[in-house]
């Protein structure tokens, strides 16, 4: 199984960004590139070459789903696993995100100590 190292993370809310950084970099040991909007994420992708995309859904400029659609147009990233982070986790809403090409959804609010484990699990699931 390929080790997960590089995550492209898009989130507009600084408070969430900071705590997610601790949860994923310090607890999880991953390398993160943090973007404030979907637009930034699209701009950063070639540079950062992430193995996994972790996107907030609601963001100014460009929301998570739109950013994902843009990224899917790039050949090298058409299969890169993507996870949405959102407070909307009703079954039909989750289905909607999966239809948009996400592999899974992580609910907000999340538990900082276990976020890395959650991501790791989704990663492991996708690898098999």
């Amino acid at each position: 199984m390929q080790e997960l190292e590089r995550i492209l993370y898009a989130e507009d809310e600084t408070d969430i960004q900071q705590i997610a950084l601790i949860a994923l970099e310090m607890v999880g040991g991953y390398t993160l590139k943090t973007c404030n909007t979907g637009l930034e994420a699209v701009a950063e992708i070639e540079n950062f070459k992430p193995q996994l995309l972790l996107f907030d859904v609601m963001m100014p400029d460009m929301d998570g789903p739109t950013a994902l659609a843009k990224i899917r147009e790039i050949d090298a990233y058409k299969d890169t696993p993507a996870i949405f982070m959102t407070a909307k986790v009703q079954p039909n809403e989750v289905k909607g995100y999966l239809d948009m090409g996400a592999v899974d959804v992580i609910a907000k609010p999340f538990e900082p100590m276990t976020l890395a484990a959650q991501v790791q699990e989704i990663w492991a699931k996708v690898q098999t």
Partner: protein, 571 residues
């Protein structure tokens, strides 16, 4: 699995973040209130609608993540209530929506004023690791207590500094912003208390901190104090990274509460888990998973060894497999439940048993819950965390006094007996102090009960700050407090209590009119000389009465407590 180095750093980072966020919550709620007021008066303002929607949505997501679950849920409820209107035209609100949203916003505000600090404390996931290394603690303590106080009013500075020092902090004062900045470059304080207004400008204090923070890698922990209390200044303070904001005249007790919270990382003990499984692979998997979340674990692969382990390592919870050779998990839980000491430890069965009937049977034998294998690591962590949190909360409620957070009467008596038997066993001295605030009824009568409560809290704060970690403080009831000093003789205890007595008498308490001062009287008894805790506390009570009779504001030691051991260690 993810790696996990540098645990204390994670803890420190999370605590700092959480503290920072806690301080921002009031401003966020205030913003929501303002948007809602504007939207109520101009319902068709679609931009305002979107703003409020975003504010509540964001708070719903962030507050929960930081552990402020009630705030998060209320914000979420506002968001949902607003969405009820999204499909309709925005020309007017239905009365139902207005009253729904109004009520929720009010609840948020109430929570803001009263409850969210407590909720923050409840958030134990941030607390599990703590660098308890004793050798570091003295140095860290001193640095944790270094405060810089900056204000151009020299008189105010001196009074304030003196009062804060009585709580055990080292306070360095500055009237000049540049000198303050140079001092920070030399030695960083644990916290800055900064006036807002200087001759350079009405918000010079905020601007100065803001500029310094922009040039720094880490933000200076800052509390702002100000003569004005307007929202915009508050907002500026928040934006400059301010963690607290106090309007003059300052309530010293409240300021010190806040200083305590910001400088003193609450030393919650790591969660302790015992894992019983005959398969070392299985138990070490669970142990590793829980350790990664900062818990302490002990693995037991020989079920019958469990009872020995429990004595050395009293856990917050026991996880046990069901099918094990020699003794099953069910028999084990039955045995544990028959022992008084362990009757309240939660027992959770970890097993691949999916038969509900068998699960029920397990519970009836004293198990508290059932987790099915294979279990996802994150689920194990959260299931264990939530049970421990609840268990500790229940214990805390049962053992502490709500106002001061000190141990209550029942618990302190229990602790006295424990410490006394230890002192007997180890042949070490043990001192017991009982104290009572002088003329406290007069405080309540003249200044009101809220002022009286603040006096009680300030005494509790003072003691928490100034006593050693292993001294045990309790509120006996009313205005009566007790302290147990392990390994300390009567004379040493008297020296300490006299210092505290003087410090306490220097704290000025505020009523609606004038500052006032309080004192206490104290009686001390010490082991050897007594057979049990009741004798010791009766004796302390007796000499406390003598102290009162003898003019109050003094510490009296029981005569037959002065003997001590020949080799008694004074501190």
């Amino acid at each position: 699995m993810s790696n996990h180095n540098g645990k204390p750093d994670i803890q420190a980072a999370l605590t700092a973040l959480k503290d920072g966020f806690a301080q921002k919550v009031p401003a966020k709620i205030e913003e929501i209130r303002q948007s809602w007021n504007l939207l109520k008066s101009v319902p068709e303002d679609i931009d305002m609608f979107h703003l409020l929607h975003r504010q509540t949505h964001t708070l719903a997501g962030t507050a929960g993540t930081y552990g402020f679950h009630t705030v998060g849920q209320l914000a979420k409820a506002v968001e949902i209530a607003l969405q009820a209107d999204l499909t309709e035209s925005h020309e007017s609100w239905t009365p139902q929506i207005v009253s729904d949203v109004e009520l929720l916003v009010q609840q948020l505000e109430n929570f803001n004023q009263a409850g969210f600090e407590q909720e923050g404390e409840d958030n134990a996931t941030f607390q599990p690791y703590l660098d308890n290394a004793e050798e570091n603690s003295a140095k860290t303590d001193a640095l944790n207590r270094l405060l810089y106080l900056v204000d151009d009013d020299a008189d105010f500075l001196n009074t304030m500094a003196m009062q804060i020092r009585t709580f055990g902090y080292k306070v360095v004062t500055f009237t000049d912003l540049d000198r303050f900045e140079k001092a920070v470059a030399l030695q960083e304080p644990a916290l800055v208390i900064m006036d807002v207004e200087f001759e350079q400008g009405k918000k010079a204090g905020i601007e100065h901190i803001h500029r310094m923070n922009e040039e720094r890698e880490n933000v200076l922990q800052t509390i702002f104090i100000t003569g004005s209390n307007d929202v915009l200044t508050r907002l500026d303070a928040v934006r400059a990274g301010g963690l607290g904001y106090f309007a003059k005249p300052l309530l010293v007790e409240k300021l010190v509460d806040s200083i305590n919270d910001l400088t003193h990382q609450h030393a919650e003990e790591p969660y302790k888990v015992v894992i019983v499984d005959d398969s070392p692979e299985q138990s070490s998997f669970a142990a590793l998973t829980l350790q990664q979340a900062g818990m302490e674990t002990r693995e037991v692969n020989e079920p019958l060894e469990l009872l020995n382990v429990l004595n050395d390592f009293p856990p917050d919870i026991i996880l046990t497999d069901i099918y094990m050779p020699g003794c099953s998990g069910l028999e084990l839980s039955k045995m544990i439940r028959q022992m008084d000491t362990f009757v309240s430890i939660p027992i959770v069965f970890l097993s691949s048993e999916n038969d509900q009937k068998k699960q029920m049977n397990a519970m009836s034998l004293g198990g508290d819950d059932f987790l099915s294998k294979p279990i996802q690591p994150w689920y194990l962590v959260s299931a264990v965390t939530s049970r421990i949190k609840r268990g500790r909360k229940v214990r805390e409620l049962a053992e502490t006094d709500g106002l001061t957070g000190l141990l209550n009467h029942t618990k302190i008596k229990e602790r006295l007996e424990e410490e006394l038997s230890r002192a007997k066993r180890e042949k070490t001295p043990l001192a017991f102090a009982m104290l009572d605030i002088d003329f406290f009824k007069h405080v309540n009568d003249s200044y009101g009960h809220p002022a009286g409560d603040r006096v009680l809290k300030s005494l509790a704060n003072l003691f928490k700050q100034r006593l050693r970690k292993y001294d045990i403080v309790g509120r006996y009831g009313g205005e009566e407090f007790v302290v147990i000093f392990p390994n300390t003789d009567a004379i040493a205890a008297k020296t300490i209590m006299d210092k505290l007595r003087v410090s306490f008498s220097e704290i000025s308490h505020f009523s609606s009119e004038n500052p006032f001062y309080c004192r206490f009287s104290c009686g001390i008894s010490a082991f050897p000389g007594y057979e049990n805790g009741t004798e010791m506390s009766n004796e302390a009570d007796k000499v406390l009465y003598e102290a009162k009779e003898g003019g109050r504001n003094k510490v009296v030691v029981a005569v037959n407590s002065l003997g001590g051991f020949s080799k008694a260690k004074a501190r």
